[in-house]
Symmetry: none
Subunit: 423 residues, 2 copies
């Protein structure tokens, strides 16, 4: 069976330009990996008549319709009603969802579920309920008249999680071509540098394909094979991984890993090593991103966000004359920050970050984008000096990644201080 | 004349999820300001048959069709040919564009224009040519059978610049209404609660309209008026702002402001008050988000991310018996964290946050989602107890927003501890 999908996003906020349709992007990527072709994306407002018309068009040109949005508790959330009606389904109260809502309201608001919230528990008869772990509105899937209808919530976090956890397994069962992908993750080389090193390889590969994409300070390479079965596809991908790892060296930090910090968390756990930080220009981002990881508390002890010079001196013990003579943005201050954090927080390793995130230069006229990242450990203190452009968010993100990368290299016995080109 | 627009994006890369349709967002914002309603966005691949079908659908439901993409020099750039054919127009060589191409190729490549590139100079007869200052492919606009067709290039920078510089003046000439919007920002009430409090008002308002949308822990209400001129539209919006502010009370934290933390930064600056924090479950997010704001360093001194109990005790002075008897997630610990941060960091105000962000319950079996947020200041220490669901990111985000909200209420003389329902 050849499946063709259409994505139907419901929400006036999209038509007003308040948000971009990132749900469609996320879902399209996933469908492409499943080998399901997408012919159209449609966006329609919270308007039942126009939604009905969009469904009428979509069912003539797709056999999978995936809707996003319009599942919430407010009067303009009409997706379920409209789709159910279009496919001759009745909405019925789904008791487990109703119970979840009752529990939720009792626990949080000490009251009954209001009528508008209870409409979230009304679902098309005979549907598969897609549980929403991040919000109160469940999604659902049903097949009618040869068309698979999948309804997901609009908020990107809820949509992505339900698509990945619920819709993909549902759709995978329909698909017959096997597509298998693995992702190589790289930090410390920019996309042009990666392309230069792999010159002539990427363009000529057809199956598997090798495609780069840039992701906030990192480069990802996706190797994708298409075959008659899973085992063949996996076998085709394997040698490409090794070829790329040999070519790019230490900059490759993992295959199919979720992030650099996740790799660092694993390494710290395996080695029984604790981590702390002292952050100036990153303002807590190093700690925040690391503690985004569930389980970080096993090794991450804490961070001192020392935004003011007084805190650098009083809490972390950076000597006053170093701050005054070398400046808060200097190799020496970075060293003292890392060593101070290691001492004050009592950790095995500590990262110290100081730099100019902008918009203005610092008191010593250091340019925006200059950052020093230090790592203090048992074997000594290591420092990277990095210059990374003018954008505040980019500077803070990249400085944070450099901190993680130094920890990774420390724990895997690689060169810690050398920085290759990033652009 | 009442104009209804449909945006038609052409590009297989959108259907594969390589990029999001940010062109549609940008153009929709502009159309909304011009008072032109958008009923649908459609995305179609580089496929002439399906593009033709999408045009056939669009012309039945819109009288302005704006296409993006498919104007370039490659074989799959088919937008002009397809749209011209659909509206019975012939493509003719546009001599000034041809000359620009000849100049461009001579200057850069020292050769004649290749045939595929020259197709960029073929434009529908009688069209308005929209010059592209960023690339070689011009856009165009024409009217046929009562439908205005505007074609813009796909690359976001080219599209945005041509839309702003060429398409807006073209469309403004068609429009006869002015649209004016203001946004009311709310923290501390969920979308259903906002709707309940404004029951009967939102649904019945027609001009101005009042529309809610949820945004990570907050609710935004947009008031939009349509009038013959700007001054009238502004006058119509004003009383609605006051009505909403009166109805929702302290939960309204601003009109047209960028974020809660931005309002807090302004208040701190105006009052000459410094801020610090002690963060457990938020792991640096409170500091990170605040220091995302350029200029935060004027008032924000720092934060101690005390992920481990040892740091809570040793760096921030939370008594060991409090940690052991009351637990790290308790009202008492939150108080000590805020007061400890205020003392150690030497700030006027300090926020302390402790809670269970999950995935597991804490050592006292407190449930995931339970958070205490404390604010210590000259007049005392205030605590909120909040229960906020199961998602780690959501818990951390909401806890952070509660911290900012308490600072806002402290500095504006409002009730600091009361929490209304958020869903």
């Amino acid at each position: 069976m050849n499946y063709v999908a259409e994505l139907l996003a419901v929400g006036t906020e999209l038509l007003l330009g308040d948000i971009a349709n990132t749900d469609a992007q996320f879902i399209s990527q996933g469908l492409s990996q499943l080998g399901i072709t997408v012919h159209y994306h449609t966006v329609v407002g919270d308007n039942p008549q126009r939604l009905k018309e969009a469904v009428a068009v979509a069912r003539t040109r797709a056999n999978i319709i995936i809707t996003t949005g319009g599942l919430g508790p407010t009067y303009d959330d009409l997706t379920k009603q409209t789709l159910a009606e279009a496919f001759g389904k009745t909405l019925l109260l789904h008791e487990p969802t109703a119970q979840r809502l009752r529990d939720y309201f009792m626990r949080n608001n000490k009251r009954e579920v209001p009528a508008n919230s209870m409409q979230q528990a009304m679902l098309p008869e005979g549907c598969t309920v897609l549980q929403n772990d991040w919000g109160t509105a469940p999604g659902c899937a049903f097949v009618a008249e040869g068309i698979h209808v999948v309804m997901l919530p609009g908020p990107p976090r809820e949509c992505a999680s339900m698509f990945t956890n619920c819709a993909i397994p549902y759709l995978r069962a329909l698909s017959d071509a096997t597509i298998f992908s693995r992702t190589i993750r790289i930090f410390g080389l920019g996309e042009p540098a990666v392309e230069n090193k792999l010159k002539g390889v990427m363009e000529t590969m057809e199956n598997p394909t090798l495609a780069p994409y840039a992701k906030e300070g990192e480069v990802l390479l996706r190797v994708t094979a298409r075959a008659g079965n899973q085992a063949d596809a996996e076998r085709m991908v394997e040698p490409v991984l090794h070829m790329v790892a040999d070519t790019l060296g230490d900059a490759v930090y993992g295959f199919d890993v979720p992030s650099l910090e996740a790799v660092v968390l694993d390494l710290l756990k395996k080695n029984g090593v604790t981590l702390g930080a002292a952050e100036s220009c990153t303002g807590g981002l190093f700690a925040k991103r690391f503690t985004d990881l569930p389980g970080a508390s096993a090794v991450f002890q804490g961070s001192v966000v020392a935004y003011s010079a007084a805190i650098k001196e009083k809490v972390l013990g950076v000597p006053k004359d170093v701050l005054e003579e070398k400046g808060t943005v200097s190799e020496e201050t970075a060293r003292y920050l890392a060593e101070g954090a290691r001492r004050v927080l009592g950790t095995d390793l500590a990262v110290g970050i100081t730099g100019v995130a902008g918009p203005d230069s610092d008191e010593k006229d250091n340019p925006v984008g200059l950052v020093y990242v230090a790592l203090a450990g048992e074997t000594g203190t290591y420092v990277r000096r990095i210059y990374m452009g003018k954008d505040r968010n980019w500077i803070r993100t990249l400085a944070t990644l450099h901190g993680y990368d130094m920890v990774r290299r420390y724990l895997t016995g690689k060169d810690i201080e050398t920085v290759e080109e990033l652009r």
